[in-house]
């Protein structure tokens, strides 16, 4: 066989990569919404913390942050469990990968969401309040669906960047498609071929997500009239 029997392993690695990317997206999405809320908050302290978070995180390479957070997270956990005289909790690479990627890309999502929230016309929110909606209802029924249309190009971009950043998690020791491809290449002496396989896997993943994102964009732009040139 062309893959020397490494086919199932590579498929499993691909699945790990997808899982990591999707879970980190969820974490980043939630952190991004909170961060955007913080940046638009009227409380100066919350605003300062949120701004510090987005500025610092976006100014440092994701790989450096990943190493920093991955090791510090484990050491911090050890300190806590030691103080409580509890057994040591070992963070597996997947959990820390998700938390780290989510935390890093949450900063990028926060900027995207902030811009999108500001693009929703004020009148829409006022109309919601005038109808007697609660602030949660205004967010959930009025702001969020309209914000998503403005945020989608930014979200697509962030997703594609994050999908490619998952490759770095193999450096921390996660058995994703890259790590398996490297191991397979070493054991069969076909390093070039197996690295190429990993590259093709990523190319397929980015192509598929591009198709989905174009579809989503069409879905969220329903009812928007575009001027034809």
């Amino acid at each position: 066989m062309i893959l020397d029997g490494f086919g199932p392993l590579i498929l499993a690695g691909t699945w790990v990569t997808i899982e990591l990317a999707v879970l980190s997206l969820l974490v980043a999405f939630v952190i991004g919404l909170i961060g955007a809320g913080g940046k638009m908050s009227s409380n100066p302290l919350i605003k300062a913390i949120a701004t510090l978070y987005t500025t610092l995180i976006r100014g440092v390479p994701d790989l450096v942050l990943m190493l920093l957070i991955f090791y510090s997270l484990q050491i911090g956990m050890n300190n806590i469990t030691e103080a409580l005289h509890a057994p040591q909790i070992d963070l597996d690479p997947m959990t820390s990968g998700v938390l780290t990627l989510g935390f890093i890309y949450g900063a990028y999502f926060a900027e995207t969401f902030r811009g999108a929230f500001l693009s929703v016309p004020k009148g829409q929110i006022e109309a919601g309040i005038a109808y007697g909606l609660s602030s949660w209802q205004v967010f959930h029924r009025v702001q969020f669906p309209q914000m998503m249309r403005f945020a989608l190009p930014g979200i697509s971009n962030n997703w594609q960047v994050m999908l490619k950043a998952t490759a770095l998690v193999s450096i921390i020791g996660l058995a994703d498609v890259i790590k398996i491809a490297i191991d397979a290449g070493r054991s069969t002496y076909r390093v070039f071929f197996f690295t190429l396989v990993a590259a093709v896997v990523y190319l397929v993943l980015t192509t598929l997500s591009h198709v989905v994102l174009v579809w989503l964009e069409r879905h969220y732009s329903a009812g928007v009239r575009e001027a034809e040139l």
Partner: protein
Amino acid sequence: MIDIIQQFWRAFLWSDGYRMTGVAMTLWLLAVSISFGFVLSVPLAVARVSAHKCYAWPVWLFTYVFRGTPLYVQLLLFYSGLYSLDVVRDHQLLNAFFRDGLNCTLLSFALNTCAYTTEIFAGAIKATPHGEIEAGRAYGMTPFTLYRCVILPSALRRALPAYSNEVILMLHATSVAFVATVPDILKIARDANSATYDTFDAYGLAALLYLCISFILVALFRRAEWRLLAHLRPMNTEHDGHRQRDLSPSSKNKDVANVQTHG
């Protein structure tokens, strides 16, 4: 913390005594890849927007592949992948080139940033107002002169904000260079970490250095944008603009002056 700084400050900044390391190495990686990327991407962007499919299509494929795969994988492909092939090892020149981790790193970085920059420039060229191009043609410019004098000067300026973003991202991307044993900031941080086991401080110091370089680059690009995109700056017509024009001797009529400023 003080321990690491005392022991590694020189390596973090420019040299470990034998070779260029740390900040100097990171900046060198950035400068070389960005300049090669820029020089290659301008003709590629012109080809990318060409009406001839035989020029546009290969460039599209190149940017598609290099933008669709992680830089880490590309680096692995050039560094450990290519060197494992007998074709490369048996060829004297290729062998000498790919044996050095720094060469592989620079090659993959330059190609990667070239792909992104090509798309940025191609987008800017496409957004050139068609009136400018038609005016150039009406003056009898050849396609080369048209690009040299009309399209490229304006398109490259308009691409500056997106381009500055790409440069910052490239700075961050240089941190994967340690995979090819290039002694950049992160490699020194790893060395400091394994020497002192002071993980947080070692990587924290690296993060701080990257942060400083990012801020300096952002400030430089802001300045460049302010100067080079002066013609796209919103005019402050509310106060100074009107007063100055009213006082100028050529504008006898206030309305004419206004039409001219807004036209």
